[in-house]
Symmetry: C2
Subunit: 235 residues, 2 copies
């Protein structure tokens, strides 16, 4: 019976795939908790309850496993880019800034509720990790996302120079990473503030939108007017 055979074959393949996924999950959680260099391949194998050598068999080198974790979650990056592209940034939309910030930040913030909160932590840790493996990931995966938000934001907030907007993006990113990663909030607030609160996404959007709106346009008294004219939006 073909059915029985295929069932047996899929049983074997599925068992292997399950262990592969277990490794991926453990790697994600541990890298998020302790950073790339703070985790050994043995730690990951131990957490996934598989022998050390199996990790190498499935994923090769440690750096490749690190990349595989991001590849496994690549959907979240494209989701953010798509949502940014879908925002109405014509002058007609009075909430264009809020919509852009939300499109950019919400998929990350909501990861916590989706049960994938380890990955949001991992993104933050990786953005801050000084090691070359982490930097390579950021440049390869997230520079495109940065440009798509910056370009859209420059259309929604005309008159700002590109360097002004890049600084605004950097501040917003720092805030987002803090929002997602920092555990100090509970300590500093005496346990009252909790980063898991779903309403915090709206709060974040409000605050960061205010930040972007405060970016000075060329001609304002504040800063960043040297030489360069503000760039023109890309095609």
């Amino acid at each position: 019976m073909t059915g029985a055979v295929e069932e047996k074959r899929s049983r074997k393949a599925e068992a292997a795939l399950d262990r592969r996924l277990a490794i991926l999950r453990s790697a994600e959680a541990l890298f998020a908790e302790r950073g790339y260099s703070g985790v050994s391949v043995r730690d990951i194998a131990g957490a996934a309850k598989v022998p050390l050598a199996l990790v190498g068999y499935h994923f090769g080198r440690k750096e490749d496993l690190f990349s595989a974790v991001f590849a496994h979650r690549s959907g979240y990056v494209t989701e953010r880019i798509d949502r940014i592209a879908a925002v109405d940034i014509s002058g007609a939309n009075p909430h264009a800034i809020e919509d852009l910030v939300r499109a950019w930040a919400e998929p990350v913030i909501r990861l916590r509720e989706a049960g994938a909160d380890a990955f949001s932590l991992l993104v933050a840790r990786t953005a801050w990790d000084p090691g070359p493996e982490a930097s390579a990931i950021i440049e390869r995966v997230y520079d495109g996302l940065a440009h798509s938000l910056i370009d859209a934001m420059m259309q929604a907030l005309p008159g700002r120079s590109r360097e002004t907007m890049v600084w605004g993006y950097e501040y917003a990113l720092g805030a987002l990473l803090m929002h997602v990663a920092d555990r100090r909030v509970e300590r500093l607030s005496g346990g009252r503030a909790q980063s898991g609160d779903p309403r915090m996404c709206d709060f974040f959007v409000q605050m960061i939108s205010a930040l972007f709106r405060a970016l000075p346009a060329a001609g304002d008294e504040t800063v960043l007017r040297d030489g360069e004219a503000p760039s023109v939006p890309r095609a």
Copy 2:
């Protein structure tokens, strides 16, 4: 001659102190560049051009050397706390927010001009380092600074709940660390924006002040009142 004797003695002691300082400087630069776990004691000894064992003689364990780097720069922390305490936060001062943000951020941003830019990078790296050695430093050295700004800010911006203010502080800190540490600015702006520009301090103060002012007071429609759903404009 006592003078000659003391001169000889100080020659010896000074030579030792110079090497001690060289180790401290190399440690600061390397920890800032690659993080705590990314640097070996051998790297530090090599950069300081001293034998490996001399590092252990002067500073003991690696973690103690790490602490010594922060202790050596502790003046910058007290300077920030003092400047925050000196700000007029009575209702009479219309620029209380700007003054507070500046008192808090300027000593760090200006480190770059003071030739101690490695330390500002180190502070950022340490704030983000997931390892226990870095966390211990942050909690021991910087929680007090955080509280002093939060407390002052709550007086300058009355009506905001403490958790709201803590979140504002977290966002501001994320922005400051990005301002000081990130090298992506130049890449994203095509080389035009430079983090070393002195005027960037004023720019930072303007932006982050706007962020703090946007923090909703109790009674505002936006968020963070227990039990009530936020009403946020959506497209």
